[in-house]
């Protein structure tokens, strides 16, 4: 127990390993908070500025274009009229409008800069106008007596509703996964401490290791003491990090906060075990192992979607096994399946895999360390 507390004391005094594991998610969390906090609020719609050039008048169309509402009190378009293509293109280049519509009576063509959300919106509006117009024309020709009913029906908001079979999760923002990836990486940074633990128990890697090897306290006991002391600190740190995400960055994990907390603990467990394993199993200098360790948690985080959230989907198509064993992916997926889908089974599967990997790594380290003598010091 004495050594447990001393290991904790040491961790708190080294700062750097602890420091980065905490600072990293809090700092980047802030960036994400600013970005996705706003993005998540459903890309607040603002009127799309659109230009119109009238080659042949169509008052009804123009009126509709001007008056269609996105929602109560918010028009879909902001309409500017131009008398020449040159002027409209000039405005487009200056980003005053997203595109312009050439109106030739009932025929339209749209000129845009690129296909993005705004252009798609204009295009959809034109398509619908055109199709509705033709439909009304057909009905007028075929069943003129029913015209009124058609117009009433089209005008009314009533139609068959589409009801979402709501997924059990509460998370509606596609960006929350970046927070999860952040947490995953924070967990895996624990491998730095795990590495340190592994280096400081081996006689051939550190002087302290030699001294601890000649003591009558077994190596296993010493490793485990260090391991659990580090885990203890990490669990506290992760709790703190999560608290910052929840209370400062207002990340609402709903009822799942407890599960997410557990997940970060499991993640730290794997991170520590992985670091320990790397220190014990691989040959080479301390610098080399540290490099390897950085490579480990960066690659794992990358594959878990830290830089780009969709990578897991690409992997799922091409090499799904990575998604099943990569620690960062497992952490992210456990959280995501919980938050988005309310899927406790997936969460459990991911967590169990995660813990199994951690235990496996730990067993590898222990087996390797049982080879108790060194070839050279």
């Amino acid at each position: 127990m004495q050594h447990f507390w001393y290991r904790i004391k040491m961790m708190l005094r080294t700062r750097s390993a602890v420091f980065w594991a905490v600072l990293f998610p809090i700092f980047l969390g802030m960036v994400f908070y600013f970005m996705f906090g706003n993005l998540g609020n459903a890309e607040q719609f603002s009127e799309v500025p659109v230009g119109v050039i009238l080659e042949k008048e169509n008052d009804i169309f123009i009126e509709l274009l001007k008056e269609t509402e996105m929602e109560e009190g918010l028009n879909m378009f902001e309409v500017y009229e131009y008398d020449s293509k040159e002027k409209a293109e000039d405005a487009m280049q200056k980003k005053e409008i997203c595109g312009y519509i050439l109106v030739k009576g009932e025929d339209f063509s749209l000129v845009v800069k690129k296909m993005d959300i705004s252009s798609s919106l204009i295009k959809t509006f034109l398509d619908q106008y055109k199709q509705n117009y033709l439909m009304i024309e057909d009905v007028a020709k075929n069943k003129p007596e029913q015209m009124e009913k058609l117009i009433t029906s089209l005008d009314s908001d009533e139609g068959v509703a589409v009801e979402n079979i709501s997924l059990k999760g509460q998370d509606k923002s596609p960006y929350t996964q970046y927070f999860y990836a952040l947490l995953a990486m924070a967990c895996l940074i624990a491998s730095m401490v795990g590495l340190e633990n592994g280096l400081k128990i081996q006689a051939d890697l550190s002087a302290v290791g030699a001294r601890r090897n000649v003591a009558p306290t077994g190596k296993m006991q010493q490793i485990m003491t260090d391991f659990f002391a580090s885990l203890f600190i990490y669990c506290i740190m992760m709790t703190g990090v999560l608290a910052v995400l929840v209370f400062v960055y207002k990340q609402d994990f709903g009822n799942n906060t407890g599960f997410i907390l557990l997940g970060t603990w499991a993640g730290s467990f794997v991170g520590l075990a992985a670091g320990n394993m790397m220190a014990v199993v691989f040959k080479g200098s301390k610098t080399k192992k540290e490099g390897l360790n950085v490579a480990f948690f960066m690659t794992s985080s990358f594959l878990g979607g830290l830089q780009w959230g969709d990578i897991t989907y690409v992997l799922e198509k091409n090499c799904s096994v990575i998604n099943r064993i990569n620690p960062a992916t497992l952490i992210v997926n456990a959280f995501k399946s919980l938050a988005v889908f309310g899927d406790y089974k997936q969460y459990a599967v991911n967590m169990i895999t995660l813990l199994a990997i951690g235990v496996l790594l730990l067993i590898i380290s222990i087996l390797k360390l049982r080879r108790t003598k060194y070839a050279s010091l």
């Binding site: 063509s109 199709q131 058609l150 950085v294 830089q307």
Partner: protein, 390 residues
Amino acid sequence: MQVFKTYFRLLNAYKGIIIMYFVIFIAVALVMTSNSSLATNSEMSSEVTKLDIAIIDKDCGTLGTALRGYFGETHNLIDIEYEEEKILDELYWRKINYVLVIPEGLEESLLNDNVETMSFESMKVPGMFEADYFEAELKLYIQKLTGLLAAGYSMEDAEEELSRLQSQKAEVSFASFVNKKQNDACTIFFIYAPYLFITLGMNGVGVILLRFNARDVKDRMECSALTMKERVAGISAGILVFGLIMFAVILVIAGILSGGSIYADMRFPFFLLNLFSMLVFGLSLGFLTGTVAGNNEAVNGLVNIVSLGLCFLGGVFVPQQFFSDTIVKVSRFFPTYWYVATNEMIGEMKKLSSGLSGEIFSQIGLVFGYALVIFAITLVIISSQKTRRK
């Protein structure tokens, strides 16, 4: 020369990490370039992306056939059993974007104008733009369908009418000043260059400078016969060559992606200049890191915070078109934002108008400006450290 050689000898010790960042960068850039629905070497098209849609027909009537026929034209229809767990899994891994369920009796209530009681059911990943888009399409279809039914059309006739109308679409063309290759692979690929330049700038320059700046090494060098000038020149040459290697790698990959055509493209010199500004910025960050970071661990920590922070805020990883006004206000403070914006402007230009060139050059200048400021700050820090040691 001695210092220059030492630079690369030290770099050699960190080659593992440097290679790793290269690989991550190349993986991010290539996967995103090839997966970006917009990126094609062919000319830009105005087609909307095809989605993977499943229509589960519990009603087994003409409505289901109609919907399948209609949406099968524009999307990929996926067959799947109605099994919630399986669907969740497919949705989770985005093998399906949208699941539409037609409940039993829906068609009948539709025909009897008794629509309030029944509704479609759907499953989708919340917040996913494509799914919302499809739902809007679906609603428009149903609106037209009910209209036609109200007008006395039979289901079959209405379906036929709507299929006929489906092809009636507004013609879309691109403005004359727009380069239709604006979303070619290279333009998209270049967006990710900041991630490489920043991570490797900080690792390849920062870590090495850290070694040169270590107290004992520094003291030894100061006692040596090398003049200050020679040392600075040696280190600068090392940084420069390292930077040029990164630059060359980017250009080679761009060449491969475009099949060589990018080198002959009129936009190429502008891309080059824009990339170079970012490279200089990345190196300047490395210079600063090497001076302020105390040890390797700090560099590793800083690299992640700075590179990811700048890239997310600059619109490298999440497209700027999704940014709200508030984010744009914040993002404008970061050079990566300007780099990405400039890259986009260059990508879509066809010829250089005076207005455009002014904007492009001033934005590139801004990035250089940032690099200069960081460089100056570093020098101030270095000189203040010197005075302190006296």
